[in-house]
Point group: C2
Chain length 210, copies 2
């Protein structure tokens, strides 16, 4: 049974799933969704994801969307394959779940907005809005201050090992590190070391070069 990923180049959510598949050492078939021709808004694709977004993962008869639900599924279902991305101990798992939520609720809203303004808009020939950049750099800085403190006494965000809590950051990190927002990470030594280390993981390099 082949795992299929329906995704698009340059989609951070797609990359999140590919990063997870690479860490779990799982083979998959990648199906490019033709977004310029609005394939993601056509009935066949909407039957996979009613929000008309990428990615979708199919594993046998199971169809899943929402990148963080897909990574959870992969981490639990293929627990014995590749890197263990969750933690068996229930209390440690509860702490890990907190940091998964922090990425989703705190880091991602600021990081995605900055990636859009600083990385994607220039590609599309659009003008970056400096006021929005200022506002969201401030928000991201507040999040990274908490990360700096957390990473001064925990090797990774979720605990002692690399887990989904770290992995979920990788796609936004990749885009932001090529922009002026890199300074926010560079200014914080523990954050900077963490970001460099998780970005150098072979599975991550494989994910975005495959």
């Amino acid at each position: 049974m082949t795992i299929k990923v329906f995704g698009a180049n340059g989609s951070t959510s797609t990359l999140r799933v590919l990063a997870c598949l690479a860490e779990k050492d799982l083979d998959y078939e990648f199906v490019t969704v033709d977004m310029p021709n609005k394939e993601h808004k056509k009935p066949e694709y909407l039957s996979r994801n009613p929000f008309g977004q990428v990615p979708v993962l199919e594993d046998g008869d199971l169809k899943l969307f929402e990148s963080r639900a897909i990574t959870q599924y992969l981490a639990h279902t293929y627990a014995d394959k590749g890197t263990d991305l969750i933690i068996k101990d229930p209390k440690k798992m509860a702490i890990l779940a907190v940091w998964i939520e922090v990425e989703s609720q705190k880091f991602d809203p600021a990081a995605s907005k900055l990636a859009w303004e600083l990385a994607y808009k220039p590609i599309f020939g659009m003008t970056t809005d400096d006021a929005i950049v200022d506002e969201y750099e401030k928000k991201l800085s507040e999040v990274l201050d908490v990360y700096e403190s957390r990473l001064s006494h925990s090797k990774y965000l979720g605990g002692d090992s690399f887990t989904l809590a770290d992995l979920h950051h990788l796609p936004n990190l990749k885009y932001l590190m090529g922009t002026n927002a890199k300074k926010l990470f560079d200014a914080r030594p523990h954050v900077s070391a963490w970001a460099a280390e998780i970005q150098s993981r072979p599975a991550w390099i494989k994910a975005f070069t495959s």
Copy 2:
């Protein structure tokens, strides 16, 4: 060992946790965080939640923040108490996890913004921004269109039974139903029936009247 909740009146995130505790039929001690006097920004509270927000849950020596991480912890740790809010079957749980993410990534950003503009601002004597209301009513409508379709063939969002995927909506629903945004729910029969049913659950009524 008593469960402690550090929270505040009128906080939707606090209510999310109280709703879960009520469904799980768990006793707890409620500690009001004195937000008008900035108790949530003082070192003692920041040691519980470095983001300085409510709620925090303490269960023995375990301290957790982020409401959706707390509800997950309660649902898993107290699986045999009260209402089962997760699903044992791994494939059905994967689908449930998708809809938990949908609430977090799609419903909440629109619903929270509307609740702020339409319910909270008037309480604080602030002026509602009609352009923001228009923008986010449109976003919420798109989400509710997907819900209407989902609920036409699934009794609850996450599957056949009431789960965390439904429960997480309750606090925003409570605030929005007292505003003009109620029309968005009323216009969709399956959404409207679902919203009415989950809001009439005794555990929910207990949660916000306790």
